[in-house]
Amino acid sequence: MMQLAVRAEPLLDVDHLVVEYGLGNKTVHAVSGVSLQVARGETLGLVGESGCGKSTLGRAVLQLRRAKSGRVLFDGEDLTAMEGEALRKMRRRVQLIFQDPIASLNPRRRIGDIVAEPLIIAGVKDAAERKRRVHEVLSAVGLDPELVANRLPHEFSGGQCQRICIARSLVLNPEFIVCDEPVSALDVSIRAQILNLLEEMKARFGLTLLFIAHDLAVVKAVSDRVAVMYLGRLCEVGPSEQLFAKPVHPYTDLLLQAIPVPDPDVRPVEGVAVGEPPSPIAPPSGCRFRTRCPRADQRCSAEIPELREVAPGQFAACHHPLA
Amino acid sequence: QKSGGSITVGQELEIAGFDPLKVGVYDTSTFTAAAAIFDTLTTLDDKGEAAPKLAVSWTHSDDYMTWTFKLRQGVTFHDGTPFNAQAFKENFDRQKDPANKCRCAFYITNVKEVLAPDNDTIVYKLTDPSVNLPATITIQSQNNVIHSPTAWKTKGDDYNRNPVGTGPYILKSWTAGDRMVLEKNPNYWDKGRPYLDRIVLKPLPDAQSRFASLQSGEADIIWDDEADADNILKAQKDSKLTVHTYKGSGAQVYAFNTKVAPFDDVRVRQALVMAIDRPKMSQAISNGLSRPASNPYGDGSWVKCKDDGALPFDVEKAKALIKDYGKPVEFKTLVTATPRGRMVGQVLQQFWKRVGANMEIEQVDQATIPSRAFTRQFQMTPWRIVDLADPDPQMYANFRSGSPLALAGFSNPELDRLLDHARVTADPGQRTEDYCAISRLINKEAIWFWTFQNTYYALSSAKLKGFPKIYNSVIDVSMTWLE
């Protein structure tokens, strides 16, 4: 097994993970053999187009979707082999934040109860203790516990709901949080608030994050390393600055070019992006990006490219890497 | 009399069929059809006397144990089979044959056998004397109507719904649950009859819409009963309609199960009977149309008693009896799950509540009542003594100890003696005596009680003529005509 650029012993080690969905008599190949490591204290950004399997990967890490094959090692323990109580214990250490903050709060329960729920599930019997913890995390995410605890989710804006979700995920003092597009549904102005909050929480609670997003700029703002995913496979992994400055995989390059720049002097380059991603039900053979890749040739359709280290700490799965 | 035309008869029930082996007993709707398709040996004339039909004359032995009938000649069934003594005997034997297990056999237990000494003579051999046999076999029932032997033999299971008789009408078509179309029999032995070309029988189960059908002209004559008093009164006022009524013998009756508490105590039974104010009850359930009954025979019967021993309506006495009994009086009464059954049940309940007895109404469907009654799974059950020409068959079955129909489970040597005596006595005066004594005894012991006498109703368009009396509760339209 190839060792990716990991500075310390990884907290999370995903090894050749394969996740599939049955759809009638067809199979959706959502995640097809993804391996990545996240070191303790690190933020790994995961970007890719819609439907490429980011959420599926995130959920498979948490065992909300069982993998078809492959392993998920968390702090040295194999989550895929865990069942029942053991898994439930482990869940306290690993948390999840969703894209749609409003949908991830039960519309009929009060905020105080929602945030206290993980404590109840974890078996914290003492009500006063629970209340103390809830107050603590709510204040930490910048909400006034007194004002908030007795209200229902619909009384809050999206940004506030996301704060509540963050508070809920923090209440058990987890080590690792999967953030599944936590800001995609938010406004530009609110988005910045939440990103800042996440950064702050990370520092304050010593978290390790898997940060999923489809917006490269957002990922860059918070990640130490970035993994680019395309149609169930990883294309490129590398330290943020390096990857953005010198993308090696043509897909990463395409993504970077497609971002609209808020500057009228930068004329948008027309015609960079070609085609649309194929269906994960029948992914192309060989390199999955070849159907849209300007550099694709015979070899790309015959041979699946492996992740190779192209620069220190930067890996790419491409037969014809850029530069 | 005008020939031609067609009428529609609105009936209450759906006809199940005509084969006695299948249907066991005919109901009122089947009677009407049977009266048109089949003939009986005898019929009742205007005065209620037995008159010839397929039998032209009859004689009896002195002990009334043997009756000989001379049959009409030249009569054929609709399928061409000749009607003769042999055919009649086959009809009878088929019912009587134990292998056939016909429910109908019960009603001919008193006939030992029927002989056919020659082609146009039949002889009834009875087990007990019967003084009035020709009148009792006039009803167009499962036992008395005569089927074509060839037909039932060739048609097998299908015969039930494809009956063949000698009657004035031939079954033309029959849609289950809907219409039965009867066409005039052109070869009917009674020349010149019948008058109508066609009779259509339709089940119209709902009383309101049945009456509406009569009003709107979809039906020319409908079956009705006192429960529908509002409509009967309306029809009486309507010049376009005619109300046919017939005050029959018999009564609507109730039997106490004297084997179970609280009816094992005569005081309770008497109290309940005395609590009923029949005129008021008639007012409540039928606008006063119902005629109170004080004995099982009724005004329509030839049994007329000076003293039938009826218990008076006396609330105070009833209360006293209940008080005397000491224990709370609580019981269930079976009631048919029909509007009429519910109404009567509630009225009785009301009377009895007033004297301190609690009756609970148990609604059951019509089919359940006989089986509950035969197995004695009841405390009080409604029953009916129908309009037959002679009281004997029903009185004997209902009250003689040991009879499966002696529902009260009451046995009294004097009652048995009187019943036995009445059935072998020829003299009407003496028989009246006996039956009145029986009535007094039953009334005194209050093992059964009677609410109202049987009155039969048919409502027709005023244009329908020639409708006979509703003898035996049969609406017989076979000899009617339209004006």
């Binding site: 759809l23 009638g24 008599n25 | 609105g10 759906e14 199940a16 069929g17 084969d19 299948k22 249907v23 066991g24 007993v25 297990k101 016909c102 429910r103 056999a105 019960f106 299971d157 299908d158 015969y159 039930n160 719904r161 849609t175 289950a176 649950g177 809907d178 219409r179 339709k202 089940p203 119209l204 189960p205 709902d206 309101q208 819409s209 049945r210 509406a212 059908s213 009003q215 709107s216 979809e218 039906a219 469907d365 019509q366 089919a367 359940t368 006989p370 089986s371 509950r372 035969f374 197995t375 499966p404 129909l405």
Partner: protein, 316 residues
Amino acid sequence: MLNFVVRRLLAMLPVLLAVSLLTFLIASLLPGDLALVILGDQATPENVAALRRDMGLDQPLWWRYLSWLGHVLQGDLGRSYRTGQTVLQAVAERIPVSLQLMLMAEFIGLVIGVPVAIACAARAGGAFDRFMTGSAFAILSMPSFLVAILLIYLFALELHWLPATGYVPFTEEPLNNLRFFVLPALTLALAEWPGIMRVLRSDMIATLQEDYIALAKAKGLKPARILFVHALKPSSLTLVTVTGINIGRLLGGTLIVESIFALPGIGRLLVGAIYTRDLVILQGVVLLVACGFVIVNFIVDMLYAVLDPRIRHGHA
């Protein structure tokens, strides 16, 4: 698609089996011993025992069920002990009536319910909407036995437009047949349309909020086209379910309406069978009616696929 059809058809078998078992159990739990009912006044213990033996009533229940099922599988549903008719004959005679009644009732129900629902949804909360919602409740509060007699009074006795009761087969006198069916079908339809109206109205209201309706307006389409082409079809899935259930229910007959209007339908046959303890007819007819229900359900599923291409293409 074929796969889908076959799978659905196979899934129906257990339902039918369960219905047959249920019917059998219920029929054998009914009070009133069949032998006693048949023998009537003639019943002596010996007679009853003999008859029970003849009819196999002394066998254990499961055995009777299996042997009945065995016969059914060979296509023999049995014969009524009372009328001598086979179950198939009895049903064949009655089913056209129930079918026609059901079809006409659903048709009238839809003809009233659908336009009213559309009109209500188009102006939800408006005067017409409120009035019709209120009327729907008023009609819902009138049991069919009352509605039926009121209709008879009005149309048969007062106006003389339609017959009060009766029936002729369609094959004999088509026009008259329709006349006979108008009032009973209307009675049923009056009870049906409030339900139809309610589900369609609320689905329509939801659909009319959709972006694609806004786009249809923005495209300058005629209002009628928007309502009937763009909004009605995607709103009608629940309606189809409800209609399917109604049809299934009406297949079992509607005793009250059949009795009042003297229609020889399945309802009266079934209840008659219960009252006379004609268990062969009862079991057979219930089983056939259940088959009908299952088939209707199947058609509903197919209709889903027709109405919604997403279902057709397996994108649930």
